[in-house]
């Protein structure tokens, strides 16, 4: 009696796919995924695994300030990467800072993606004058550097709101301004894919049976245009984190009470000349590592999903 032929499980199917093969055999994908996972994991778990709590002011000791990293002569085991000007453990501060950076990055990309996909779908599917108008808006938007737009939105909100509210709204404002600066890429890509998809038979069939256009867009076209969106989202995540760091470095990003990596780099910048290089170099390295690994992962994903490159 031969065993009934078992249909392979989900996991097995995934492992057997082209994507998985490419992932496991690419020289960059696996290492960069590991590094990205390490960064993200460290950031997410910071409150539980960080050696110190940098936000517990009562636990700070000013006399610990400017302790160099452990591998230097005056370094101390308790502070692997040294301490900053207020005696905060740098490793813990970086882990907590990366949390804020990632939060802003993910939220901003999610916002840009939602906005961009919606606009792209609408423009591509409806077409006509709506398409023309939306795409011209996108063109205009593209003529401005993204960081400039983010700065502009941030500045306007700051000027419009009373100072007391600034700290409370700073995080949403940064997310909004970075997200808003980035929706065009999503909209353009989705519009292109939608133009291709909307003339295919399954869409025509759906139209013939009288489905509402919104329904067709959401449940028929959308799933088929999401592939490239995923690639752009990954690449954009790196950019969003960098944009947040830039804004925070300029002092208009997240409030200093919730220091992100950019804020840490700015604070450390004041001590570059006086020899305490670690206060700015380590947050900078953390930022570079995180963004580089995410971008490499995005590059690989783009190649892997592109049938022409296979």
């Amino acid at each position: 009696m031969s065993a009934a032929p078992r249909s392979p499980g989900r996991l097995a199917r995934l492992l057997d796919s082209d994507i998985a093969y490419s992932f496991l055999h690419s020289p960059v994908a696996l290492p960069s995924a590991l590094v990205a996972l390490l960064c993200i994991g460290g950031a997410l778990l910071a409150p539980w695994i960080a050696p110190h709590d940098p936000f517990d002011l009562a636990g700070l000791n000013l006399l610990d300030a400017f302790t160099p990293p452990v591998f230097m002569p005056e370094g101390r085991l308790g502070f692997l990467l040294g301490t900053d000007d207020q005696g905060r453990d740098l490793l813990s501060t970086i882990m907590h800072g990366a949390r804020i950076s990632l939060l802003v990055g993910f939220s901003a990309v999610l916002f840009a993606m939602t906005l961009g996909v919606a606009i792209g779908l609408l423009a591509g599917y409806v077409g006509g004058s709506l398409d023309a108008v939306l795409m011209r808006i996108a063109d205009i938007k593209l003529t401005f550097p993204t960081i400039l737009i983010a700065l502009l939105i941030d500045g306007v909100v700051r000027a419009a709101l009373p100072r007391e509210l600034h700290d409370r709204v700073a995080l949403p404002v940064v997310i909004f301004s970075i997200g808003f600066a980035n929706w065009v890429q999503f909209a353009r890509t989705v519009r292109g894919s939608t133009l291709v998809e909307k003339n295919k038979e399954y869409v025509q069939a759906a139209r013939v049976i009288g489905l509402h256009p919104l329904r067709i867009m959401a449940s028929h076209v959308l799933p088929n245009v999401l592939g490239p969106v995923l690639v752009i989202a990954t690449l954009n995540l790196g950019f969003a984190i960098l944009a947040e760091a830039t804004l925070s470095f300029l002092g208009v990003g997240v409030p200093p009470t919730q220091p992100s990596l950019g804020t840490l780099i700015r604070i450390g910048n004041d001590f570059l000349f006086s020899g305490e290089w670690w206060i700015t170099v380590f947050p900078g390295l953390a930022l570079v590592t995180m963004v580089l690994s995410i971008n490499l992962l995005g590059d690989w994903l783009r190649d892997a999903l592109n049938p022409k490159l296979r």
């Binding site: 000013l62 100072r163 004041d270 006086s274």
Partner: protein, 544 residues
């Protein structure tokens, strides 16, 4: 005809060209002095106004002091010297007579006369003035003739010349033409002509003013004082640029982009000392940094304590004081460049008493006990307002203190901001707890007591120019300040100052931190004299 026309055109072009050339050459000859020497100067903050009587702030007066002059100048050692007045004496106990310098002209060409003195002192006495503290003993100013003025005080005022040395003289006609006969109200951020324009008699005149970007002063060749060999400046131009980032400011100095940094951050001093291209000009500053608590309101702003004000309780004030480890701040934040203190002003000031310069010890346990006794066993929440571009490492000091207070349970939220928003905020009394630094230009105790400690509404208090925004009020202190105002017997007056300093120490109206030690940093080709009032004087600054 065909030939004549081109010739005509040719001729007229030549003529206009030669006219332009002559004009250009003439203009150049007028504009270019012997050799252009520009001092590029930087500090962290920019003046928040150019009105000469609106803001009694070092950042403002350090620029205005090059443009405007007072009746009396201060020399390199801060001693009083003739300025726009050539001589002064008391003709009666309450009447000072000032002989004015003749032939002095304002930058717009108007003559300086007794009317301008009467006008300027009157302007400094107006409610929107922040200079009342220098002129509030004055009853009236009388013009005797065009070049003689009498200042009549309400009671004998032995230190009037010290105060007059800080009151800038304006041109009455210019102020009237530009509707600027009263000082700008900075609290409400009023706009008026004097905020961006100046017209003084001083050695430099304002050429360009772009707030927060750059301020250009050019040499006033017609200044009367250039005849004095002590005023040996060879500067033709001063370019002032605020750079708020410490690292950027120092990088600009090291790379030769600026020649003079007024406030190098303490952490970079060691590095600057080791660099041959720059020089560190050492010197103390007559300025004390402290925290002020609102002891007046029934309920604090920005705090979670409702229905009462914890700072009215001396135990709470002492607790906050006990919590501060000033030696750690001195060593780590100030890198040794500060003198911890327990009193109101530094030793250079007349009336300073060593035995009153004693701090409450750093004792967190005692602090927690005092808080518990006062009814706050779990501490409370409050907001600490702090400037971030005014004093040396101001924000960092505040951060450090916030952490120290957290250890005794007081959760202070730090609200750090640039001086342009900070000073109007605390002048509106929109703060419960703030950092302040107080320099003493008169070098006499009265200035500090009157400006910071005397009751705001008492006759001896500073009135509108009082910086006692914590609302501290103590009848005994007011009585002693009254003695400082009018007592002419030096021994008795100093005894009153000492008594007031004791009350300051015991009653904790403020939490003193330290006196600033403020080295300046210059490129090695700049010769500048360090001034203890931290006001660089370009009259004797040279660049080679």
């Amino acid at each position: 005809m065909g030939a004549a026309q081109p010739k005509g055109v040719h001729m007229s072009v030549l003529r206009s060209l030669s006219r332009a050339l002559v004009a250009a050459a003439f203009g150049l000859a007028l504009a270019a002095p012997v050799e252009a020497r520009t001092l590029r100067w930087s500090a962290s903050g920019d003046p928040n106004t150019l009105d000469p009587h609106s803001q009694n702030l070092g950042t403002v007066t350090m620029i205005l002091g090059q443009v405007y002059e007072a009746l009396i100048h201060r020399g390199q050692n801060l001693r009083l010297e003739p300025g726009l007045a050539t001589a002064w004496r008391t003709v009666e106990p309450t009447r000072w007579r000032f002989e004015l310098r003749r032939g002095v002209k304002f930058h717009d060409g108007a003559d300086f006369t007794a009317d301008d003195v009467v006008f300027s002192i009157g302007r400094a006495r107006q409610p929107t003035s922040n200079y009342g503290i220098y002129v509030n003993t004055i009853d009236r100013v009388e013009k005797v003739d065009d070049f003689t003025v009498d200042i009549v005080t309400k009671a004998p005022d032995p230190i009037l010349p010290n105060k007059i040395a800080t009151v800038f003289m304006m041109d009455q006609g210019w102020a009237e033409r530009n509707s600027a006969t009263r000082p700008q109200n900075t609290r409400d951020r009023e706009e008026m002509h004097t905020v961006r324009n100046t017209n003084g008699t001083g050695p430099f005149r304002m050429q360009t003013r772009e707030p927060d970007v750059r301020t250009v002063l050019v040499r006033n060749q017609a200044w009367w004082g250039w005849a004095n060999p002590a005023h040996n400046s060879n500067l033709t131009e001063i370019l002032y640029r605020p750079i708020s980032s410490d690292a950027t400011r120092i990088a600009a100095l090291l790379s030769g982009e600026v020649d003079f940094v007024l406030d190098p951050p303490p952490q970079d001093i060691a590095r600057l000392r080791g660099n041959n291209a720059v020089r560190v000009v050492e010197g103390p500053e007559v300025r004390t940094i402290f925290f002020v608590m609102d002891v007046d309101r029934a309920e604090l702003l920005y705090s979670d304590v409702k229905g009462r004000n914890p700072f009215k309780d001396i135990r709470v004030r002492r607790a906050l004081y006990h919590a501060i480890d000033i030696n750690a701040i001195q060593r780590v934040v100030m890198r040794g460049l500060s003198v911890p203190t327990g009193t109101l002003f530094p030793p250079q000031v007349n009336g300073h008493a060593v035995e009153e310069d004693v701090r409450l010890p750093h004792d967190p346990a005692a602090a927690r006990r005092l808080l518990a006794e006062a009814g706050y066993p779990n501490g409370f929440e409050v907001t600490l307002d702090c400037p971030n571009n005014r004093y040396i490492n101001d924000e960092q000091v505040c951060q450090a203190v916030v952490a120290m207070w957290a250890r005794i349970g007081v959760r202070a939220r730090l609200n750090a901001m640039p001086l342009q928003t900070y000073f109007p905020k605390i002048q509106r009394r929109d703060s419960s707890l703030y950092m302040m630094g107080w320099g003493v230009p008169t070098l006499d105790a009265l200035y500090s007591f009157q400006g910071l400690i005397a009751s705001r509404d008492s006759p001896v208090g500073g009135g509108a120019s009082s910086w006692n925004f914590g609302g501290y009020s103590n009848a005994e202190v007011d009585r002693l300040v009254g003695m400082m105002v009018s007592e002419t017997d030096q021994a008795k007056r100093n005894a009153a100052i000492r008594q007031a300093l004791r009350l300051y120490r015991e009653d904790v109206p403020q939490i003193p931190l330290h006196h600033q030690v403020i080295p300046w940093a210059v490129r090695s080709n700049v010769q500048i004299t360090h001034m203890a009032n931290n006001q660089p004087d370009m009259r004797w600054t040279r660049i080679d």
